[in-house]
Symmetry: D2
Subunit: 273 residues, 4 copies
């Protein structure tokens, strides 16, 4: 398979306007109603994870998220529960009947994480970790590929092409904000990436408003904007007690936000070309 | 009136959650249904302006826009029709009964432009032209203040404060994209600016999706996203024959886009907090 | 004079490798030893200005700088002494026999400022204020054109072209840092702009390390880097008592820095192409 | 070892102004004359590598660089010679008696690369690959840690802290340009990072002008600027025949540049605090 000027993305590019859907167990992402993936930033305790999974289900989530391996800026921050975390995530996933999306950060962990997860997440910090992209692609499992904070849309599509070339064609792209000079938000949500990607790739496109916002009160407006721009779904963080969260508490939705999020997911999203 | 750490924006800041509306003739911006401002980038000929004004009206615009003084990157690009342009704009405004929003770029022109316009626009390139901000404020006319392409939200609010301090309290902020590393769009629309501003200022907030996109096909998805994020209105460029436009043709909506834009403006925008 | 793809800058572009020099009274900028322009950010009092001018002379400055009209982010910050400031600047310039560089921020002030200054400065915030560029160019005086914080090198050259087209061909470009995501410095000094401009324009290129740094301790290393990259000179801020400065005190050099700066200006700068 | 507000970098932070040096075999980096690391972007053939190593030695390099595992934006670009490349690099290193610096991109390769290299390089794309940072740190070998293109200086220091915490305290930081809006250079060299880091860390700081520039003609001016700003050394790419280079040919220095680079390295760099 070779690349050309007319189609730099032979595997993930858009051809004849044919769009791909991605199945995660019985959940279809793309070409249909938007899908909510929700859960805590990190799995912390059995109780926290159980409550968060119930919140996710109440919000209308079709997939459960949560991190057991946490890539953190400082080595002195909470790094995740690792294998124990995977077990708790799996238990919550089974308990709520929501398939599990969780992040893998090391090529050596791919096999283990694949045993517990239904969809593997590549985080923003690893979008250019090509060895990991290939290893994840080789599992042929569904992959949620977040955009790197300084990655152009084209670099992001090349990252997807790495996964696809290794065998993993069930890829969902996830915009999560890019790094700019503005400091009132944690990152700048590039909502235009959604319609731009529609012109370039067959892959479904989701948006994570939580990491872009960095603040709870901004998450729902950004979620609405993302669906209005045509996103195939949302990745949202929530927590039963954000004040005690081991990471990213300020951006986690709380109990009183859940009915609003549920209403948003149930709304008629019309033609979202 | 002094500033303090707790309220750096004594005139435009949000206090007791009281929001301002801005009246441009009989049109109210803020605290109600979203308002559309539409028209060509630049006024070019009587025919072009007449047709564009009709398109604006058909799209549901309440205000007409168009530039007679065009700030252009190169001195060898079309610079606008100046006074003749103001006359054509005024004529189209009267003909369609749509109040006129037009840009002023020089303190020496403020008085003249004020005779023709119903609302004065400060463009992105002049957001830090403090002398112009003061001169425009002193007219006490309504002002549409675009965000500078590298301005933080706080710098933008300070620019509004300059206008207000000079006497012009009827200010509408307009997000139009910031400069980032991404090149697939002309600028990166910072849609999060809308909910962020809701927390900081009493002023209405509009969005210009046309300049952010730089490409026609992206304008409507960004327009939808902006309203979904809670914007009080849209500023959209259109043209009867974009291939012949003297400036920014690729981003101008065309005839077939108008019904879609009209439908968007008529839609139920629900609670857009 | 028309522009073309092969030479978008007919007046300021480089042709046949011929470089321009700019004379400010008896001082030559370009094609020779680097020139120091130094002085306080703003003129505040007669004593402050007199002392600052003496510091500038001791540092080896050939030109004196200082602002009477200060563009400030907040309208509640010190805005400069205006006409009284111009008089104090002129007095200090005459007293030290250093020609005066000072900023003009409003087309209506150009004539007045031109009576006191030997070189007119366009600040970063006004690089896209095309009316001001034309008004300054029409005086035919030497102009110091700072780069806008979000301006590409090409946009900056177009700004120079505006000045030249209006009659002012004695233009010196001044890099002063661009806006990026890094917060440890006030702006990011784009030192590569110096050699890039050498390939594109005949105009001399200076660097202002003070605004880029935002902190005194970084100014001299950035000054050295700028000269090593080939800059034709430096624009440096200093103050006799920065703790009391009305603006930008933290980046002003102090008495003990002056001998180091003087040594830097006297050093052999070798081939700095 | 705990972190605190006063010292977020317990292992790599600056304490009592004590600076670290890093030894790579008999070469000392830091607290002395600047060190040149030079070589091709990628090892391609035995002849190419042999010639490039000779060029490096002629330029005054003390260490040889070259990549066997190439992280490339597109999966359809040359990905490096892998193990064969390591063997050729090792051979060139032995032949020229220049210790070898080469990149590792996968935790699973660390052991193998460590057998051939004298210093392990973490590339910009992997600066946030924390698993790799830990794996490299555990070898206790010297590490060259490049800055991520969107990493703040603080995030970069945290990455160094990850390596140090895993056991690898011989770390050299390498600035290589950050991603900004400017397109005339491949990246924007943040030369101010050098003096900023002097205030924050005990680690030596080098600069890679080649990747920042993206163009041969800019490399030497940026190299001069970097040393003038106080860098402890340079990482420079060169190639015997850049037109045929498998990657990054346009930024590789060629034969006629070598004497200039050698002269720069031999020059008196004075007090470069």
């Amino acid at each position: 398979m070779s690349t050309s000027a007319s189609n730099p993305y032979p595997l993930v590019g858009l051809r004849d306007n044919e769009r791909a859907t991605v199945m995660v167990k019985d959940v279809t992402i793309g070409c249909g109603p938007p899908v909510l993936i929700a859960g805590p930033c990190a799995v912390e305790t059995e109780t926290q994870m159980f409550q968060a999974a119930e919140m996710a289900r109440a919000a209308g989530a079709r997939l459960l998220r949560g991190g057991a391996f946490k890539p953190r800026t400082s080595p002195y921050s909470f790094q995740g529960l690792a294998l124990n975390g995977l077990r708790l995530l799996h238990q919550a996933s089974v308990g709520t009947a929501l398939p599990l999306v969780t992040e893998v950060v090391d090529t050596r962990d791919v096999e283990t994480v694949a045993q517990y997860a239904d969809m593997l997440q590549i985080g923003a910090r690893n979008m250019h970790n090509f060895a990991l992209l290939r290893a994840v692609g080789a599992t042929r499992m569904p992959v949620l590929l977040k955009r790197g904070v300084a990655a152009t849309i084209d670099e992001w599509l090349y990252a997807a092409e790495y996964i696809a070339q290794a065998g993993g064609e069930a890829i969902v792209l996830c915009e999560r904000g890019i790094r700019t000079f503005e400091t009132r938000t944690r990152f700048t949500l590039d909502v235009a990436a959604v319609p731009v990607l529609r012109q370039l790739t067959k892959l479904p496109v989701m948006v994570d408003p939580s990491h872009a916002a960095g603040e709870r009160r901004l998450v729902l407006p950004l979620a609405r904007a993302s669906l209005a721009a045509g996103a195939d779904g949302l990745l949202v963080e929530l927590h039963p007690d954000p004040a005690k969260a081991a990471c990213d508490g300020p951006q986690a939705l709380i109990g009183t936000d859940i009915p609003k999020l549920a209403a948003l997911m149930r709304a008629d999203h019309g033609i979202r070309e």
